[in-house]
Symmetry: D2
């Protein structure tokens, strides 16, 4: 399976005339952010997040999450946020449960293990964890006379949307949360693409729901219009201690902390985060319709900004001439599961062009 | 699956009249070792392995391995030996490949991850790794555009005998070694029960073969008659640097290093290691015959000292009254896969009694 | 001693009318960078540094360093750069030598130790390491019969300019380099403020000198006009392996890698990096002259952008009303060593105002 | 300074006719232990400490410590015990305070740092920590605006007797304990030679005192008559969680756990631990008197089993012909500080011979 960060070292996209559907982090940032950066570029700020922009941004996040007591921290990127949150929530001897396709299990080069914690993998079901699988795992572990010879599980890591763009329902997340807390597992939600999940037409989960049900989660910025940065939220205060020092110990502090604060302050002004996410979803749905109209099949049924479609090898090659996308999986019959990433920067025109190309290549390669 | 170290905290065996087939480390040590310890108890030795007994023992191991240049190190126990060897052979960013049932993957409480290395798990086939599986894994990894986002594999860890008592053939081990070195993977063989593997009737692998084919391996003492200790062998000199300091950094040095030297010096005098291993195998084969005669089925076909047999739940319960053994796995039909561990301390009389009990309980619970 | 990052959580500077001499990372970035970011904001780029801007920026750095074979990597911040370079250059069991005031020894919250490496501290002399101290340390270590019970030193970490703004001469650096390589120590130079060192009036060290003498070094961006980012240089190829994966394992990759590439591409176009550094030094020298004229004494004789002056407690308090600065050390006689940080953003007018305030407060508090 | 484990790889002591005063771990174990091992060598025991001998031994330790609720764990050696206790008592981001000469700071090859924790060093005063030094360190740390950029101290590590044989008084230990708990520091006492401290003529500290004042401590076995092993005591229950799994994660479990249990069960039967410690102290005092009578000066005033005396280089060389000892420090005037280690195995006759040699070499080298 070819993940998100798939990038051929040999290629560069700059100046490419190809339609940009490779990832959702191909563009600098939303214009509103660039404008704001320009405005404050001659103002001096205190470093390390002790500035007013960060304070304001954190307060906005607390309000939108209906978590007035939440601890909010701005971290530069997703892997960093996963590592520092997991390491802070776990005891040194504990491991973290994840689906076998979870980002921490596969595509972070062992960053979690580098902090001494085992990633304990369980099956995935459309990218999601199953409560039954976790409970069976725990049952086996603790019935086993040797449970203390095994890694003690301390938390469950989930992604929402998942690596394949699927979503938990509120019922599912509630059940996961209940199960975790029953078994004294912390629950951490990786929201690298959270905006696209919250804006999905069919979702019934809100930020306050997530804040209520999780011990920690992050609101992704990098893939949802920010220049850099993720907002890590511990909805309940005192969840972690000396967290500033913990971030520093991992090397994850940005000296000019207000840069990330500014991203989220801008994204959470006038609902910008939700507007650009909704814009993206609407285009993804249009793409979805176009894929169906072209008579192509979906590899996975995704309600968010990543769309996975099955194409013949020939069609895939033809598409490559005009479109940047990922080959997600080489299927047994020789065809390909390919991924198109719609983003906040995508235009309706680009969707129309992509749909047109899908139709043309589908018919020409029959 | 219930591993080796399975021990209920609630129970103690002392004074138990039950037949001791729970593990192969239930008795102190071979009488020859105790005798030797008594003889040297009033002699002063230098600490940390710089004594004459260690020097002699190392030389004996070099000779028996036909590896005159080998670096030999005495370490207290198996997990320690695995950890220090793996950490020394890997670069900090590399991971170790293992079957999913490998000891390091399951029953060492994350000791390898605690040193920052991911254990990358692959399927097991009768406890063994398959060259095809490793090569497919590598092919996928390196074809993948994101291979550098994944943990870089640096070595293959195998056990011989495996966790379920099976053995690699010389052909298989040769092929594994060739594949590893072709792909720049170090090959490390965990020989916690190596004596029982070398003494197996059907094996064609010798210590010199192992020394030739592996980058590192250890000759297990704890489970083969020693009080404590394993002998870690790097057949080629300069495989590792500052290894004394590396052992110390893990906390694994024994101040009275000559104690472990004495174990191996005794075990490799007059072929004692092979004699007691062969004695064990002969009794295991007798047990094997008895199991067949009792009409019971094997769970796994093991040519070494661990014998796995399928018993009904009722029979298992009856056996429990008179025998110490492990329940290895609860089978889907309600029956049990149980493990009997024969050891250097087992007597022919004990085998006869166990076989008799197997027959009686088999017939009475039909 | 109060370091660089000293920031009271209670305060924010925004909107402050105080003269900004607290640190050299109080402003967003040089206008040329902001302009460039605006220009490329609608161009799609490949992630993780595989874009053309990064390629161009790396080439410029190779040329300016006269190191055509150098490996150049862009990392978000200074602590990250230290951690990933040190961890990559050391064997897992090795430690890093540093002065007792080195940034890694004091102000990175144990980030180096978090990767398992001891920071071995030696005395500082005006912020600098002494070759004699290192050699005496090594002599003691290796004469000692227990050297293998101690951490094996694998590298020397130095800062240039040092934490207190001082500089090594070319002779000193050459001698350090010779000593390091004689003793098989890697030499790593932390150049968080390298621009200010290279632009100092009295220095005789150039970037090609550093590239020739060190195994690794970094050219600081964050404190020298960049938005974010440091350029880590390994002058000789193949110094490190799988470094992309190592960066990822620490969580230090920026998905939008071109952002940092753009910083350095801009800074190394038309000598911008050296121009703004020289501008800063000229203002620092003006401040220096003003301090002398005000009859104040220097705490440390610094030829770079940090100026350390001794003020009475009363004067310090008066200055606080109009100036942001750091109290570096509380001296025994009740007076204070205070630090003024000049930066690329400082104006001549601000220097004039500061000098005026120094004079006024000096006379009024006599 | 030449520590305890000082051993020249080139030498072996076996068969040496020299008087054995090099260390206190040169002999196998007390005869009572060897006898006991012989007696139980044909009894089967459960592994990993779940045997009756361990249970009994733990109960004896609880009684002698007057800590009926204490958690007691048997670990193979001193470095292991330090590592597992420190790692379990600290949060992942915390460091441990120690004198600059503390064993963990110097002679464990970075074993504490290998678990990610910084060893923060403070001055030593006759081997001891000073409450004032710790409080000054904390005052500076927390007054400092950058305290969160530094490692958070989580515990104080002390040795008793210290590395140079000195002892804390009950008043001192009480004051240290009060200070630690006032500042939320855990207090851990390394008792590698605790027996010799408790048996010292002038001490006023008892095991119950230590149990009352410390969060954790260990009763050294290796240097006080045991074959191997240390008894780690957490006087208050629930001080640590999942400690079995934590020990396993470090690789520190002995499969045949009863071996260490047997050591302590024997040592704490009929006061053997105190008898052999007292025997040692009486001989050390006799040696002490002999040193004075020979007109030699002490390097350090030690009331325990290690005696440090200043000899000329010539005398040192003469003594070497007949005595095994350590050179502790090369003094500025060319003379040597040498250490004689008296142990449970030392005889009165050996002391007489050593004193005689000291007298002879002192007079002949005047």
């Amino acid at each position: 399976m070819s993940p998100d960060q798939a990038i051929k070292p040999q290629q560069t996209t700059m100046g490419s005339q190809k339609l940009p559907f490779a990832t959702d982090y191909m563009y600098l940032c939303h214009p509103a952010i660039l404008k704001r950066m320009t405005e404050i570029s001659d103002t001096a700020y205190m470093g390390y997040g002790f500035d007013e922009i960060c304070l304001t941004a954190k307060e906005k996040i607390r309000q939108i999450c209906k978590s007035p007591e939440a601890d909010v921290h701005f971290i530069t990127g997703g892997t960093q946020t996963n590592v520092v949150a997991i390491d802070a929530l776990l005891q040194s001897y504990e491991g973290v449960l994840s689906t076998i396709t979870g980002h921490i299990a596969v595509h972070e080069a062992g960053a979690v293990e580098a902090t001494g914690h085992k990633v304990i993998t369980l099956p995935e079901h459309n990218g999601k964890i199953s409560v039954t699988d976790v409970e069976n795992y725990l049952k086996t572990l603790y019935v086993d006379e040797t449970s203390e010879h095994q890694v003690q599980p301390g938390m469950l890591y989930i992604t929402h949307p998942t690596e394949v763009g699927t979503l938990y329902s509120l019922n599912e997340l509630t059940e996961i949360s209940r199960m975790c807390h029953h078994h004294h597992l912390k629950l951490f939600l990786d929201g690298a693409r959270l905006g696209y999940g919250l804006a999905a037409t069919e979702t019934d989960i809100t930020l306050p729901d997530i804040a209520k049900l999780c011990d920690a989660f992050y609101i992704g910025g990098t893939k949802v219009g920010a220049l850099i940065g993720e907002a890590l939220v511990f909805p309940r205060p005192d969840t972690v201690s000396h967290f500033f020092s913990q971030i520093k110990r991992h090397g994850f502090h940005l000296a000019k902390g207000w840069i990330i604060g500014l991203q989220f302050d801008t994204l959470f002004t006038d609902n910008l985060y939700f507007k650009i996410s909704r814009h993206t979803i609407e285009l993804a749905e249009k793409l979805r319709q176009g894929i169906q109209n072209a008579g192509l099949k979906f590899f996975i049924d995704s309600p968010t900004n990543q769309q996975f479609v099955i194409c013949s090898a020939e069609q895939t090659q033809k598409l490559r001439e005009n479109v940047d996308f990922e080959i997600w999986e080489n299927l047994a019959d020789g065809s390909k599961a390919i991924r198109f990433c719609v983003s906040w920067h995508t235009t309706e025109e680009q969707i129309d062009q992509l749909v047109q190309l899908l139709k043309e290549t589908a018919s020409s390669t029959l």
